[in-house]
């Protein structure tokens, strides 16, 4: 492997894949805002964990359902 051979590969690369020159064509803020709202509407993981624990508890001890309903 020599420098001349490396230079040839670099030349071939630059001729095949020229440097990019892209400008953003539109404002992405509305899309970003959508993403932020979508994520904030999602339930955090600990809420899901709490729901799962409650469901498990009710399955294991169905007798507690009336007690739970009484306290709601």
């Amino acid at each position: 492997m020599n420098k001349q051979s490396d230079d040839k590969i670099v030349d071939l690369l630059r001729q095949s894949i020229p440097p990019a020159d892209a400008e953003l064509q539109r404002d992405l803020w509305p899309k970003m805002l959508g993403r932020l709202q979508e994520r904030s509407a999602a339930l955090p993981w600990f809420d899901w964990a709490l729901l799962a624990a409650l469901a498990l508890w009710l399955c294991l001890a169905p007798g507690t359902i009336p007690v739970l309903l009484y306290h709601l």
């Binding site: 670099v10 071939l12 690369l13 894949i17 990019a20 992405l28 970003m32």
Partner: protein, 179 residues
């Protein structure tokens, strides 16, 4: 209020999770982040999605940002990681989109087949080598900048470029192209 003071104030507000400050930063840096990601992934649609993903990660990490440091450099580092994750997921067989704006057209003197094989060989490189090689060899970004963005030493950048060239030579030879 002087511009520098206003900027510093905005960065401080951003670290406290202020949405207005985040919007102002988004509007100021979205073009820069998009251009940077575009240089790496070379796909306009993907670059837009990855710009959103970058700012989503920025927003989530707001509390970790040091307002004394450059927001642009921080955003660029996160954008590079997002682009790297994208390249890891991308299929190497996929060729680069032909309609992505470039400073010049591919050299018409090179046969289309050779060009396509070279692109394919490049896309087969591991993502880390691809990012380093595209920045160093095609975009001609200084090694020092690449090292800072990737969080590695200049020596490691040189090593990655060397490895990328070695793999490329081997792949091109297997494809019947003698560089």
């Amino acid at each position: 209020m002087p511009v520098a003071e206003e900027q510093s104030d905005r960065l401080r507000q951003f670290t406290h999770g202020d949405l207005d400050a985040f919007e102002a930063l988004f509007r100021e840096f979205q073009g820069e982040v998009y251009r940077w990601i575009g240089r790496i992934v070379r796909d306009a649609g993907a670059a837009e999605d990855l710009t959103i993903e970058t700012f989503w990660r920025i927003y989530r990490a707001h509390a970790r940002f040091d307002p004394e440091r450059s927001f642009g450099a921080w955003a660029r580092r996160i954008a590079t990681n997002v682009a790297l994750d994208y390249l890891k997921r991308a299929r190497p067989q996929e060729s680069l989109p032909a309609d992505f704006p470039a400073t010049a057209s591919p050299n018409p003197g090179i046969q289309r087949e050779v060009r396509e094989r070279t692109e394919r060989a490049f896309r087969q490189l591991p993502a880390k080598l691809q990012v380093t090689a595209i920045l160093a060899l095609i975009e001609e970004e200084p090694y020092k900048n690449i090292a800072e963005i990737l969080g590695i030493s200049v020596g490691a950048v040189k090593l990655r470029v060397f490895r990328a060239l070695r793999i490329l030579r081997k792949t091109l030879e297997q494809m019947g192209i003698e560089p």
